[in-house]
Symmetry: C2
Subunit: 231 residues, 2 copies
Amino acid sequence: MNPIQLFDPVSSTFTYIIAGPNDDEAAIIDPVDEHWERDLAHIERLGLRLVYILETHAHADHVTSAGRLRALTGAKAAVPSGCGIPPAELQLCDGDVIRFGKEETIAVLHTPGHTAGSMCYVWRGNVFTGDTLLIDGCGRTDFQGGSAAALYDSVTRKLFALPDATRIWPGHDYKGQSVSTIGWEKQHNARLANRSLADFVVLMGQLNLPRPKLIDVAVPANRNLGLPHSV
Amino acid sequence: MNPIQLFDPVSSTFTYIIAGPNDDEAAIIDPVDEHWERDLAHIERLGLRLVYILETHAHADHVTSAGRLRALTGAKAAVPSGCGIPPAELQLCDGDVIRFGKEETIAVLHTPGHTAGSMCYVWRGNVFTGDTLLIDGCGRTDFQGGSAAALYDSVTRKLFALPDATRIWPGHDYKGQSVSTIGWEKQHNARLANRSLADFVVLMGQLNLPRPKLIDVAVPANRNLGLPHSV
Ligand SMILES: [Fe+2]
Ligand SMILES: [Fe+2]
């Protein structure tokens, strides 16, 4: 079972809609502000009802539509408990399971590193990795409680422990790639395959990436599910 | 079961990779020349082996990578018999069934209208509609043996006869939409829902679309599976 994968070309962000076969309830993962109409149109055309809106973390590069989708559909917002997003109904912890539809389950994995609170979500042989593990790469670890050592642990101990055939659906891709597998990334990921923790920490420390342009707007907005703060 | 959906932003073309659960054989539908490496990377990362390359028609707006993928993988090319693509191994007719993997079947529907030879492919509750039926629209009918009356018949008698929950994966989209259903298009498609044949023929006759820029290059190339003609 694959998700519906949608793309925001401005921030290179993937959004996912998931639903079981012959089911009428859906969840959406990491929806992007500008695309709330596109995303609702998909849900309507597929005959689905949105029941959960999940965030993998408080994004620094785009604003979520979670608050708006929640207001329009009545779906519940489910976010990592460590990301400081108080208005969400569900504050998720490692090991939690979200149930929806006839028999769908989403298993919650706490995978700190890109941010301290980052989570990955496992559904039907798929893992939604946010910015923890990207295709042939990984998220940066230099803000919001990020830690290269924590990311190394999250990927090598938690994600690489999933079955090799598990499909990886990342939060971003900048090279036109859409999906990978645990087996492939374990063997080939340019940053994490066959690399020691010490090497990885040095590598991440040398990236010298520019500060995300939107961070001062996006993070506070995302901590309020993308809605304007009340005065 | 959803396909892997990939996009070419230059021609707004969708390419699809399909495979059964826990299977190792895959088919690809309407691959685009420029993206052969991207597409093979997906197949490799997913641990799949490409066995069929399907074309919905001889495209006028982009060149296929079918010939190249065939040479690199040994997969067979399967094309509509009425599209004039002689080098393909399989010349498909209405009602044919392609089998691959452990138990995958692709049912072939001849749906003339966009071009005289156009086909749609049905797999696991999904229909790949090429340019016959688009999301909230349809392909043009003014070249390559196109016929508005034939398209109307193909859509209303063949595609709209599929179960309402069947997911529609189109060959193009120009509005950021990715997937629809037969049920939704039957009720809402701007060109075809609740419209008479006569009205539809008038509508299509008034479109006055410019001639596709690439048609004189793309169609001859696609009739040779995208490979340069030998002298
Ligand atoms: Fe991020
Ligand atoms: Fe076409």
